[in-house]
Subunit: 595 residues, 2 copies
C-alpha cells in the first residue's frame, strides 16, 4: 500500500533557499509571512493532507460519487467530515483576502498546499479548487454586492463554486455555446441550457453551490464575442445571506469516468435559473480567461502532486520488494533476494521521476511567486513583468507538469510490476487520476497552441524576455565557474536550441500559422525542459554553497539529481529540435481521406 | 463510440508485398497456404473479430468476471457463446499441428489473427492466448501420452490452459518459488502451493482447465535450477479422455485490476493436486522459457492490436468532432465548426500513431515469418539463423510494441479530449487494457535486460548479425537511389547510432554489468526505432514501385507516413544515444537512503 509524507524539506528549500522568500514577505500585506510562520503553515498543511485527506483517497476511488433520484449527489464516505474540518481550519481561504475572511497568505504558499492536497487526494482537491476559481472570478469581476454576498461564504467553505463552460457540442471551442440568459426586470437573468463535465456541479459537502455559467444574452453577437458570465446559485440567498429558495438548476447525471471518481462530474440543466451578470455583457470570455489561467496552474500542480505521491510509493516499494540479485553480485546475502532498488533500471526510473518532480516543484513556485508580485508589487514595472512571466509560463506549466504527471505515475506503476496493476495497491489510481489533468482546463495541445499562437508572439515577443533574459544572464555569469560546468554546458546547449526554435517558429509561423501549430507540442516540451534545466542548474548553485555543512545528504542529492537530469533528460531537447525543424508539410499534405 | 474494422489491406501489404509470402508457402506443410487461401482466412478472421468479439468488449469491461462461493468464476455476458463459436470455427488451432486437429497454417498468419483479436477484445484474447502457450509447451516438452491426451482438447478449445509461475514472493525472480511437487507411486506428482496473477486460472468457458505449474521436487537444488514444470488439470481425465474427478486445485480469489477486467486473474491454491512432469526434472525453466518467448511476442501483439483500435477510434472522432476553425482559415464553411482533423497537432498525433502501428505490424510479421522458418525450413542453417533472429527480436518486440501500445492508446484518448475520459466512449478502456502488457510476461525493464544481458552478448554477438547484416546491406544498396534519399539517410544515421551504442555497451558491459543494465531500456528503444526505420524505408521501396498504378492512395499514404516517421520519430535516436553514453555512475553512486 502506497503512503504519503509531504516533502517539507524540499518545499522549504524551494521557497526559502532557491528563491529569496524575503522578496515575498516584503510585499505589502505579506509582512506577517515570516519564514517561521511559513514553515509552521506548511507543517500544519502536511498534517491535514497526510492524516485526513490521504486516508480517504483509495476508498473514495472505490466508492465514487452516487447520484440519487431528484438530482442529489453524495460524495464517498469521509468526504463530508474531512471537508468540514478542512474548511473550518481555514485552508480554503489560505490566500484569500482577509476582508472576506481569508488568511491573506502568498500564492507561493497556497501553491505548495495545493500540491500536498493533490498528492494526497486529488478528487478532494477538485472541490476546493473550483471554489477558489469561483472566488477569484467574482473578486476580479463581480460588483460589490456579489462580492459581499458570496466571497465570505466561498472563503469559509460553507459554499462551494463551479465553472460551467462545456456543453455537449462545445468544449475547446466556446464559440459554439448555446446556453442563453434573458434579463429580468430586477436586473437579474434567467439562465437556460445544458452543461456537461461540470466538476463539483452537485455534491453534499456544502449547503450551497455557486455556479459560474457562460451563456449568451438575447442580442449577443455570434461566437466567443457574444458570451457573458453569470453567477447562478443552487439556492438563492435570503436577505440575511443564508440559502433560501431552490433555484432552477439541477444535476441530471453523473459521468462514469476513468479516474477522479470521488470528484462529481455532472451534467447540469439550467431551466430559467436566476443568475447575475459578472463583469460586462459579452465580456464573459475575458473573465473566464482570468479564472482559467489561474486554474491552469492549479491543474499543472495536480500533475506535480501526483508525481510526488508516485515517486514516494515507488521508492518505498523498491526498498521493500526483494527480487533477484544485483547484476554485479549479491548485495544483501542475509535476505532471500536483493531489494529491487539495486537494479540500474529501477534507479534510473526513480531518478527520472525525482528529477522531474523536484524540477516541476521549483517551476511551480517560480511562477507562483510571480502571481504574488503581479498582485502586490509596489512598482508597476514589476507587476507588468510578473504578469508577462505568468502569461508565458502558465500553458507550459499546465501541459508540462500534467504530461509528466501521467508519465511519472506510470513509471511508479511499472516499478510495482504486476502488483501495480492491482487496485488495492493504490498506484494505478494515481495513473487514472493523473490522466484527466492532461485534458481539462484546455487539453495540452490547446496549451501548446496558446504558447506559440498567443504567448510567444504577444507584443512582438515581450513575454519571452521574462524567461530568456534571466536564463541568458545566468548562463553568462556562471559559464566559467568550474564546479558548475557539468550543468552550465548542457543548459547552454539546450537553451541554444530553444532560441533557434523560437526564432524559427516566429518566422515561419508568421507566414503560415500551420507551421507554428505543427511545432507547438514539441516546442512546449522543449521550453519546459530548458526551464527545468535552468532551475536544476540554479539548485546546484545553491546546493554547492552548503558543502560540508549541515544537511549534507540533502544537498548532495540535489547535485546528483541535477546530474541525472542533465545526462538523461535534457538531451531530449535535441530530438525535439529536429522534429520542430521538420515543419508542417508532411502532416498537412496528408490527404484527409487517407487517415 | 469507438468502432473497429480490421486493417486487411495493410495486412495483405505486409504479408505479400513487403515480404515475399512465397517463402512461407514453400515451406514443407504450408503448400496449401496460397495467397488466395491466406486472404480468405484473414477476411473470415476479420468478420469474427469485428462482429463477435468487438461487440462484447466494452460490456465485458463494465461487467467484469465474477467470483462465486466455492471457487467458480463466471465471465461477462456473451463470452461463453462467443468462445464456443470461436473455438468451433477452428480459430484456436489455426497454427496448431493437423495431427492434433489444428489447421496447420503459418505463424505469420496466426500473428495477424492475434492482432485482430487483441484489437477487438484483448480480454477475450487472454483465454485463447494462454491455451496456445500451454499447447506449445506440451507439444515441445510433453511425452506422447500427455500430447495425445491434452493437445487435441487444447486445439479444439474444449479445454483451456494456463501458465502458473508467479507466487506472492516471486514474480521476476522465479528462484524464490516455493510450490512443491512430491512423487506418487504411479509416476504422477502431488503439487502443493499458492500461485497468484494466474490469467484464465478459473472461468466458465471450457469444461476443463489445464494448468502448467512451476514447482520444486523434494530433492531439487535451490534457485532456478531446481524448478520443474507440471501439468495439473482442473478435472483429471477419465480413461476415455473426458473430464473426471475434480483435482485439488482451487481458485481462491479474483484480482480487482486496472483493466482487462473480463480476463480472470486468479489466486490459485494447489493442495496435493495430481500432476504430471513435463520435460525433465529440474529443467522446468527451459520449458517455461520456450513458452514465455512465444508468449512475449503474443503480448507484444496485444500492444499492436490496441494501437490499431486506438488509431481507428481517434481518426473517426477527428473526422466527426466539430470544434474550432483551421488556423489558416475556415475549411468547412457549411458546418458550425471545422472537424478537428484540420488541426496540425491532431494530424501530427494521428500520423505518429499510424507510423508506429503500421511499423510495428511490419515488425511483428517479420518476426513471425522467422518462427515459421525456424520451425520448418529444410536446411539447418536457415533454421538456426531464424532462431537467432527470433531470440534477438522477441524482447524488443515485447517491450517496444507494448510501450507504444500504451502511448498510442493515450494519444487516442487525448484526441477525444474530455469525452475520452468518460467510460462509455470506450477509448479509456484501451488505455487501461494496454497498461498490463508492459508488465506481464516479464516487465519491459526485464526485456531490456534480456536484450543487453543475454541476446546481444550471446555467442559473441551472433544473434545481432541477423539484424545488422540485412540492414547494412539494404542501406548500402539503396544509398544512391534518388527517390529513397529522404529515407535512407535518416536510417543510416540512426543505424550508425545503434552500431556505436551496441559496441559501447558490449565493451563497458563486459567490465561492469551495471553499465549495460543502466543503458538497457534506452538501448532497446533505440533498437526498435532503427528496426522500424528500416522497415519503413523498405515499405517505401515497395510503395514506389506502384506509382500511378491501382490503389495509388494506399501507396502514397505509405510514403507519406514513412516521411513522418523519419522526420518526427526516428530523430529520437539522437537523445537516446546521448542518454546511453552517459553511463551508470550517476544512478549507481546515488546513496540508497537518499531516494
Amino acid at each position: 500500500m502506497a503512503s504519503y509524507s509531504a516533502p517539507l524539506r524540499d518545499m522549504r528549500f524551494v521557497y526559502h533557499e532557491l528563491f529569496d522568500s524575503s522578496d515575498i514577505s516584503a510585499l505589502p500585506g505579506f509582512e506577517e509571512a515570516t519564514p517561521d510562520l511559513i514553515d509552521a503553515v506548511l507543517e500544519e498543511a502536511a498534517k491535514v493532507c497526510e492524516n485526513e485527506l490521504f486516508p480517504i483517497n483509495r476508498s473514495g476511488d472505490e466508492e465514487g460519487c452516487r447520484y440519487h433520484q431528484g438530482g442529489e449527489v453524495t460524495t464517498p464516505s469521509g468526504f463530508r467530515e474531512c471537508y468540514r474540518a478542512y474548511a473550518e481550519a481555514g485552508w480554503i481561504g489560505l490566500s484569500s483576502d482577509p476582508q472576506y475572511g481569508g488568511q491573506g497568505l502568498p500564492a507561493a504558499i497556497s501553491t505548495l498546499l495545493e500540491e500536498m492536497v493533490c498528492s494526497s487526494n486529488i478528487a478532494f482537491g477538485t472541490y476546493v479548487g473550483l471554489s477558489r476559481g469561483a472566488y477569484r472570478a467574482i473578486a476580479a469581476f463581480g460588483n460589490d454586492s456579489l462580492k459581499t454576498r458570496y466571497l465570505p461564504k466561498l472563503t469559509s467553505g460553507e459554499w462551494s463554486g463551479t465553472m460551467c463552460l462545456t456543453e455537449p457540442q462545445c468544449g475547446t471551442d466556446l464559440g459554439l455555446l448555446r446556453t442563453r440568459a434573458e434579463p429580468n426586470a430586477d436586473g437579474s437573468y434567467r439562465v437556460t441550457g445544458n452543461k456537461i463535465f461540470i466538476s463539483a456541479g452537485e455534491h453534499d459537502l456544502t449547503e450551497n453551490i455557486i455556479h459560474l455559467v457562460l451563456a449568451r444574452l438575447p442580442d449577443a453577437p455570434a461566437g466567443v464575442r457574444g458570451i457573458s458570465l453569470f453567477l447562478v446559485p443552487k439556492f438563492l440567498p435570503n436577505p440575511d445571506g443564508d440559502p433560501g429558495e431552490r433555484n432552477g438548476v439541477l444535476c441530471t447525471a453523473l459521468e462514469n469516468k476513468m479516474g477522479i471518481k470521488a470528484s462529481s462530474t455532472c451534467a447540469m440543466n439550467f431551466d430559467q435559473a436566476t443568475g447575475w451578470l459578472i463583469g460586462s455583457a459579452n465580456k464573459g470570455m475575458q473573465a473566464m480567461f482570468v479564472m482559467m489561467n489561474d486554474a491552469r496552474l492549479g491543474v499543472g500542480v495536480q500533475g506535480l502532486g501526483l508525481s510526488e505521491s508516485a515517486y514516494q510509493a515507488a521508492v518505498e516499494y523498491a526498498r521493500e520488494r526483494l527480487q533477484g540479485r544485483s547484476v554485479t553480485g549479491t548485495k544483501h546475502p542475509d535476505k532471500p533476494a536483493d531489494p529491487i532498488l539495486v537494479h540500474p533500471d529501477i534507479r534510473r526510473t526513480l531518478l527520472t521521476m525525482r528529477a522531474l518532480t523536484e524540477g516541476n516543484r521549483a517551476m511551480a513556485t517560480w511562477i507562483a511567486r510571480h502571481l504574488d508580485l503581479r498582485e502586490r508589487a509596489e512598482d508597476e514595472t514589476t507587476r507588468a513583468s510578473a504578469n508577462d512571466f505568468v502569461q508565458l509560463m502558465t500553458p507550459i506549466a499546465k501541459a508540462f507538469f500534467t504530461d509528466y504527471g501521467f508519465d511519472i505515475t506510470n513509471m511508479g506503476l511499472q516499478v510495482y510490476g504486476g502488483h501495480g496493476y492491482i487496485r488495492e495497491n493504490g498506484v494505478e489510481q494515481y495513473v487514472r487520476d493523473a490522466r484527466i489533468a492532461q485534458i481539462y482546463e484546455g487539453a495540452n495541445g490547446v496549451q501548446a497552441l496558446d504558447l506559440v499562437g498567443r504567448k510567444v508572439p504577444a507584443h512582438t515577443g515581450r513575454y519571452l524576455r521574462q524567461f530568456f533574459h534571466p536564463v541568458q544572464s545566468w548562463i553568462e555569469s556562471h559559464a566559467f565557474t568550474p564546479a558548475l560546468q557539468p550543468f552550465v554546458m548542457p543548459l547552454a546547449k539546450a537553451f541554444g536550441r530553444l532560441q533557434l526554435a523560437t526564432g524559427h517558429i516566429a518566422q515561419v509561423g508568421l507566414k503560415n500559422p500551420n507551421e507554428a501549430a505543427a511545432a507547438s507540442s514539441e516546442y512546449l516540451r522543449l521550453f519546459g525542459l530548458v526551464a527545468l534545466g535552468y532551475l536544476w542548474a540554479r539548485m546546484v548553485e545553491v546546493a554547492l554553497t552548503h558543502e560540508n555543512g549541515a544537511d549534507q545528504g540533502f544537498y548532495d542529492a540535489k547535485v546528483a539529481t541535477a546530474r541525472h537530469y542533465m545526462e538523461r533528460i535534457l538531451p531530449q531537447t535535441g530530438s525535439l529540435f529536429a522534429a520542430i525543424m521538420a515543419g508542417a508539410s508532411t502532416m498537412m499534405d496528408f490527404p484527409d481521406e487517407a487517415f
